[in-house]
Symmetry: C2
Subunit: 457 residues, 2 copies
């Protein structure tokens, strides 16, 4: 009995139109990565088990796809574990490889492994799929692409300035106006924690503060109190409850608020350098904003934090994010290698562009003309023209079979091919081609040169 075809849950097939649209986004991102001097690397789809395990927390370890060893993988497995069906402990005995979970850990491993061949500061980009055994849901997949750009080997804040410009460059090229590039700084968050005297409550604090728009000042304060943040602490950061105005005004408020925290003031200074220079050089279609509630990947980042949100009116979470990390490669034995990077969320950007109708028509334009097949003699006559057209980069096809003409026209129509070319006895006698525009019905007899000119338009 034939198998019913299907694919694993959380994975996707991509049709030609979907691939074309994804490639359009990826090509745009790559173009900007390269104008900023980022260079591509690629790492293997699977890494050694030990390279990945323990890098993403307990939850991450569970979500990593492990690859079963080849051959008689049970031969050396511990019998007690087998009898006890101890799945967790057995894993490392029957699996020595795992699919990559993100591009960051493989990048850190790459930098350390190839450090003698790399000229630092090293600007790399990497656009490859990653895999996570997450519960699939709308917009969350078990296989998806990450598009990352990172610089390692310099602490210069000019790189943060450039990464904001890079976001702006990509989204502007994609026609996505009004994207907000939010910036914050891990040191500012530490400063706030210092001021409220509750380092362990920082996440509770920012999560609550983030709801200001929705639940109002009283609602936020209520939640903070419930989480054990004292009234006294809340009073100390009162300005954060009215944290509006220009970036400069916000920076001014932060300076006053964090005056007593050395680390906090360092963060304010960094933010000021980045924002000043970004504003002076200018952005194309994006907006820069300072958001003190921004706290992504708190354990990971040490300086600037970025997050990009889609234009207002599009219900979509973040479409990009990143930040500065001071010790990414330490785990693999290379200390003091500061890095800063950003990531683009391909799937979400796709949905936003689809939503706003921003994919140019040319993206999905495939074959330009279908040559109707009237028989082998005519097909050979067509094929000579087709070869010339293709050599010039024009996308043309011969209908492979001598089918009824109606069927061949229908094929062009269903494929969205705009022109058909007819080559019967008359055309062959006159050394001509009949070119028909399927949208207008217009039909003209043209020479080969005219045909090439028309189809190369």
């Amino acid at each position: 009995m034939a198998q019913k075809p299907g694919i694993p849950k959380g994975t996707r097939d991509f049709s030609p139109i979907e691939v074309a649209k994804r490639q359009y986004i990826i090509a745009t991102i790559k173009h900007h990565f390269e104008t900023f001097g980022f260079q591509p690397i690629e790492t293997p789809s699977f890494e050694n088990y030990d390279t990945l395990m323990g890098k993403y927390g307990e939850e991450g370890d569970r979500l990593i796809f492990k690859i079963l060893n080849s051959g008689d993988y049970l031969a050396k497995a511990n019998e007690t574990l087998l009898v006890n069906k101890d799945s967790v402990k057995l894993t490392s005995q029957i699996s020595e490889k795992a699919l990559r979970y993100d591009l960051t850990v493989p990048f850190a491993r790459y930098v350390v492994q190839h450090q003698n061949d790399i000229e630092f500061p090293f600007r790399r980009y990497q656009i490859q799929p990653v895999w996570r055994a997450d519960r699939p849901q709308k917009g969350r997949f078990r296989e998806f692409y990450q598009c990352d750009a990172d610089v390692v080997g310099s602490t210069s804040l000019w790189q943060e300035v450039e990464l904001v410009q890079l976001y702006d460059g990509v989204f502007s090229s994609l026609g996505l106006a009004g994207v907000t590039i939010k910036i914050n700084n891990r040191k500012v968050l530490s400063g706030i924690a210092e001021v409220i005297g509750a380092k362990d409550k920082l996440i509770d604090f920012t999560v609550a503060l983030d709801k200001l728009d929705k639940v109002g000042e009283d609602g936020v304060k209520k939640e903070m109190l419930e989480k054990g943040i004292t009234e006294d602490a809340i009073a100390k950061v009162q300005p954060l409850f009215n944290f509006t105005g220009s970036i400069n005004e916000k920076l001014e408020k932060l300076s006053q608020l964090l005056a007593s925290s050395e680390e906090g003031m360092k963060g304010v200074e960094e933010l000021r350098f980045i924002c000043d220079n970004v504003i002076t050089v200018g952005l194309n279609k994006s907006v820069l904003d300072l958001d003190v509630t921004l706290a992504r990947g708190l354990n990971y980042y040490t300086g600037a934090i970025f997050e990009v949100t889609a234009p207002e009116g599009v219900a979509m979470g973040s479409i990009g994010g990143g930040g500065r990390y001071d010790d990414l490669t330490g785990i693999f034995g290379l200390k003091n290698m500061s890095g800063v990077g950003i990531s683009f969320g391909l799937d979400r950007i796709y949905l936003v562009l689809e939503d706003l109708g921003l994919f140019p028509d040319t993206v999905t334009e495939a074959t330009k003309a279908l040559f109707i097949n009237f028989g082998d003699t005519e097909a050979l006559y067509s094929m000579k023209a087709i070869k010339k057209l293709r050599d010039m980069g024009c996308k043309v096809e011969l209908y492979p079979d001598t089918a009824k003409i109606g069927k061949q026209f229908q094929h062009a129509d269903k494929r969205g091919i705009p022109y058909v070319v007819l080559t019967g006895a008359e055309e062959m006698n006159n050394n001509k081609f009949t070119l028909k525009n399927l949208a207008t019905g217009e039909q003209t007899a043209v020479s080969l040169d005219e045909l090439i000119e028309q189809l190369n338009k």
Copy 2:
């Protein structure tokens, strides 16, 4: 203790230069695929276990990488299998997904699954990695790309004609002159088997015949006799031992030889159609040749068989292959779907181009100019020019730190960046930039417009 970084055996990291070279080959292949009307699809990296298993023979089944189920994967495993350490039988109980082994089976699965959305004949291309647990050796990896183009839904031989042209188009664009596109036909092979009266000895026969150049006629015949092919049978196909001349002459010899085999004569007729039309339309830089010893994928193909070999003098096996198959999708429940396709061997093509020095210099050309960083004021002045240059697609960088000028120059040199731009107090006062060509040492003061013009050359 820090982990020593490494990657699984048989896998590879690709450096920026390697990625650029691979991308150049892939872009060339894609370009030609698209001018021939092939459209891209992508399928998931892993398929359901049952989709892949049993499709590649016993050896193939062993070489497929299986993914361990997530969670408590041993919970439902059979206790007896665990106690007996029965690796083979346990696999299907603890793994329900596997990494794709080639692009052909996933393509067949795709066609059947999406048959209602596909307009046939369907020309698809697919360029994605595949994984095999083969013993790694020189030129053989556990993760490698396949680049496939197939048409399904038509038996027209014009497609075979086009696939030969497609090979020629790609290799000519890559500057690889003198590639031999070998063609044969499964039906001709069947005819030979019929004539020698030994269907089961066909592979032994072709393998022996293939050694004609090396061991001579007597050597080949000796091997055939050893394999149990009778003297009488060998006598019947004597013309194959002197199988030289033009394609037409070879076809003539085959017609005489296979006159008694209906299937064999059908194969000759097909070969004649394909070769005649290919020759009439013409090839750019490749050579078409008829090779009756060509027998790749014997069980799989039903009509034309292709194989491409690198130009003489380059020691490299086949750099591409393919053929006609009459029932690819039957296993998934869709009958009578004839297909024909070809594949490009990315890794080997890479080695050939490297060997012959055929990668254009532009392929690995990255950043065009490095702006020397003399301090934040100068950097800001530079950054304004850098933004303009990047917006115009020019690849330029600011050295992120205010390091010693010698170090910054050295960075440009090590990275192969051809120009540096100097912006000190004098340049800023005069609204100029000093552009220095690192190869010639030439140094000129230019305006922003002149800088843009120079670097966009």
